[in-house]
Symmetry: C2
Subunit: 548 residues, 2 copies
């Protein structure tokens, strides 16, 4: 290949022509979620996939061989150039010989390529795009991932398919460290691909915690190595509707590669009907008068075997899930069954709990939280545990899920010195007609009465997609782009993102981008995407083929 001056000149001339012609074509609306600081100029570079490269900065602690970033370079190349093929390469080479190079240089301060993101991970980054290059700097590889995502959203195509990026300066960091999304794999089983796809879209939205509500009353799909009967007998199906150990590893690794933590929830003592099938003696036998009714209630908190079982299970959980957090549930415990059971009543008497079953619940939860602490894990529990409990280990994270008066709850919990997660206003399995993302967007997680210290105790929030009416058939369009509203609230500066009308065109564009990346994200309103269904084309054409 010739690198003669005339060729080079031709390329520049062409790029210029394109740039001039394209002044009035649609530009990129921005980045979702909005970076803390973003300055863009009208100057822009055209990018050629043939001459585009990622490289590690000389001063970077991570270099080639860094699993997280090597994989991210590969992934983002395809995301940035979705229609790149070797065919187009040949055509372009024939036409324009050598295009201009564009190098993305990535530098991280600390290596940590083989670790897991955690509560203390530094996700900040700076990104500077200028002629022929972009410089991305971050403390950690997780920050670099966030920067690569922003970079990918800065690239756009004109009507001729030419790729552009404007000169840009970004200084960015998350407002909250904990930006979660809950999937419920018990009420309906979600196949692995549905979870992996969700992780992809989470990374695009800079959500960083996958709260895996993995088991509950209806089914127990987690295949435990210690207690295989839990899924053998408690899953919808013991082979097709389970998550094997290797499935779990795959989810955790897929998440790690995207800077996403996986926090499992093993909710007890309520929400455990499916546990009882594979673990006889675990649940409280309910009584009708003086005889067992044949049905079972919450975990039996009065027998030693329960605590031995829970200790073994939590030990396994610690081993399987690397995150320092584990969710222990503790919500919606019905007392009727406990009340009916003579052994439980006897235990209550012995312990001096009187008729107050919240004391029994607290006794159980405290034991479980202590076990968790002994395993060096931080517990998250649902707000019920705080509501019914006098003392609670100080470092327990409390999660608010009850819709009414969550501001009051925020005040009370932070006044008690607890770290808090807000989920109540983001139960987006609840759908309504129209642009209900605006409700999520209007939430102000720190708008409650309290000191600055209290406000800091809000460590983030979670979008929840409960599974009563959701499985793999409707998960994606119900999640995306609706979850993006909370994602921006949790990442961006609230002052700059209060106006949903201003956010609308940017979210609309981001939704089109999700679609192009193969996420089945539903429309926000009337209209169309430029690259509509590109990402779903293969799927759609196959669907078409099978049935005509």
């Amino acid at each position: 290949m010739s690198r003669s001056g005339s060729h080079s000149h031709r390329v520049r001339w062409w790029c210029l022509i394109v740039a001039v012609v394209a002044v009035w074509v649609q530009q990129v609306e921005g980045v979702w979620p909005l970076p803390q600081q973003l300055h863009q100029s009208a100057d822009r570079d055209c990018l050629s996939p043939q001459r585009f490269s990622f490289t590690y900065g000389r001063d970077s602690a991570a270099q080639t061989g860094c699993s997280v970033l090597d994989a991210a370079f590969k992934r983002y190349f395809s995301i940035i150039f979705p229609d790149f093929t070797t065919l187009s390469e040949n055509v372009l080479q024939y036409m324009w010989s050598e295009p201009q190079p564009f190098v993305v240089s990535v530098s991280v301060k600390t290596r940590g390529c083989d670790g897991y993101p955690d509560e203390d991970s530094d996700e900040s980054y700076t990104l500077s795009v200028s002629e022929g290059q972009a410089v991305l700097r971050s403390v950690s590889v997780w920050g670099a991932l966030r920067g690569l995502e922003s970079l990918s959203q800065l690239v756009y195509q004109d009507d001729y398919g030419t790729y552009f990026i404007n000169k840009t300066e970004i200084v960015d960091f998350p407002r909250f460290a904990f930006r979660g999304l809950l999937l419920d794999t018990s009420r309906h089983y979600l196949p692995l691909y549905a979870i992996l796809k969700t992780l992809d879209a989470m990374a695009y939205s800079k959500l960083n915690v996958f709260h895996w509500h993995i088991v509950d009353d209806p089914s127990f799909p987690y295949q435990s190595r210690t207690f295989p009967d839990l899924s053998n007998k408690g899953a919808f199906h013991p082979f097709t509707h389970i998550y094997t150990q290797s499935d779990v590893i795959r989810v955790i690794e897929h998440a790690r590669m995207r800077g996403i933590r996986v926090v499992p929830e093993f909710d007890s003592p309520g929400h455990t009907q499916s546990w009882g099938k594979g673990q006889p003696g675990l649940l409280t036998p309910c009584y009708k008068g003086s005889v067992p009714s044949g049905s079972f209630g919450p975990v039996d908190p009065t027998v030693d075997t329960t605590y031995k079982f829970m200790a073994s299970l939590l030990k396994e959980v610690k081993f399987v899930f690397p995150d320092s957090y584990v969710h222990l549930g503790g919500d919606e415990v019905s007392f009727a069954c406990w009340q009916s059971n003579p052994n439980v009543r006897k235990f209550m008497e012995k312990m001096g709990f009187g008729k107050d079953f919240t004391k029994l619940e607290s006794f159980y939860m405290e034991s479980i939280m202590n076990m968790t602490a002994a395993l060096n894990k931080t517990s998250i529990v649902w707000q019920d545990v705080f509501d019914y409990h006098e003392r609670i280990p100080q470092d327990t994270v409390l999660e608010i899920w009850k819709g009414a008066k969550y501001q009051t709850e925020l005040s009370r919990m932070t006044q008690a010195g607890h770290r808090v997660l807000l989920s109540a206003p983001w139960y987006i399995n609840h759908i309504s007609y129209g642009q209900d993302w605006r409700n999520s967007y209007a939430v102000q997680p720190q708008n409650f009465s309290g000191t600055d210290e209290q406000k800091k105790l809000v460590i983030g929030g979670e979008v929840a997609m409960w599974g009563e009416y959701v499985d793999a058939t409707n998960l994606s369009p119900r999640l995306w782009p609706r979850a993006c509203a909370a994602a921006e609230r949790l990442w961006s500066n609230e002052e700059k993102t209060l106006n949903a009308d201003l956010a609308f065109p940017r979210l609309k564009e981001f939704r089109c981008e999700l679609l192009r990346r193969g996420i089945q994200a539903e429309p926000l309103f009337v209209g169309h995407c430029r690259h509509e269904y590109d990402g779903l084309q293969l799927i759609f054409s196959l669907t078409g083929l099978c049935c005509c």
Copy 2:
């Protein structure tokens, strides 16, 4: 292959064993929508795909070569035996030699294999399933299609994968002749495969009219042969977001094969913003004071060119769409623009309409309806035309869409002697959390004050899926199984289907069946399907592959 007695004996013995063992396995819940008469016995036959066949009865007017039924036999074989492969054939032959034959004999009274279903089509059928055979009788091929659908829903598998069908007698016919579903391809473009898939699911639900709301304000995707600029300039994209003539033919043929009529809607004089782009002079220029504002209102009803254009367009529509009905819209006409335009005001004066713009609207609609009548087509119009119009051609079909007081409207319209379609309570693009299919199911289309004669004027109803918030990403899970509720209301005996709780298990099973047939139907509640995602497996595995 040996046909010795001992082999044959072995087969019968095996079939018996299976039948005895399987007494307590789950049986089929029934057929959706519920047939008018259905009697089932516990006696059942096991079916072998190898020895299962469709045949034309000797007395049948249609025989091999009948396009509609030949294709239906092929389609329903795969639907009835979704996991049939030549591999399983070999295995079974090795194991059991010759299985028992099962013959479905289909007899129709009138041939009509190459025609189109229409308002007078007889969809009744009888189906008698006994040992080794099923006899399906109908007047028309359309009735035979309905019977094949019911037959396919009678077949089920036990835990060993063996196929069964119980002895059954069905006498069935639709309660209403017009059981429609509206798709809106203007607010969002729906790719062809999404429409074809919808037609598949409609046939499974025995819906028989595809109301194609093909154009509207936002876009004009119909590629007209007479006025190609309408889509060239009015579609979201002139090549990717259009329906070519051959696309339309494909939709009509796909529908015909399933006994589904295609009724196009060319809504005017309102809802025509996109028309104006490719047809200058068609829309009314709005005025600000004494000068044109640059924006346009409804179709200009004061100029001859409008009527010439509409006559040409409707002539083309008659040619392209074989159905005897055409929907002319006529809803939501805003008078503000007409009012602002001095020429329109002059015309009003000349015609003696005073200040009453409903008279102008009526004048326009009457002209259009007369054109349609001259083309031997029956007009459907939205209720607005009746509400604002004194006289209306008697054979015009009126469609009710306004939610409030639709019972009163049913009374008024039928009292005026008009045939009526009910859609108002079935605008299922409107979603709410939970089992909102129950609302659709509770609708009683003939529960209004009126004579028996009036009740008979209700010719059916329509499920509407408007496109403000719906495109191919969320169409299927929003439609299915929610649309099935109205489908049963329109087909089945209301007395036998009033209780939604009783219908629930049958609908749940039907939804699983839809899923198995590749329709992305969302769940009704917590749980799982036995063959969950089988029909979507290919799609899902590909989605998985592309992104891990």
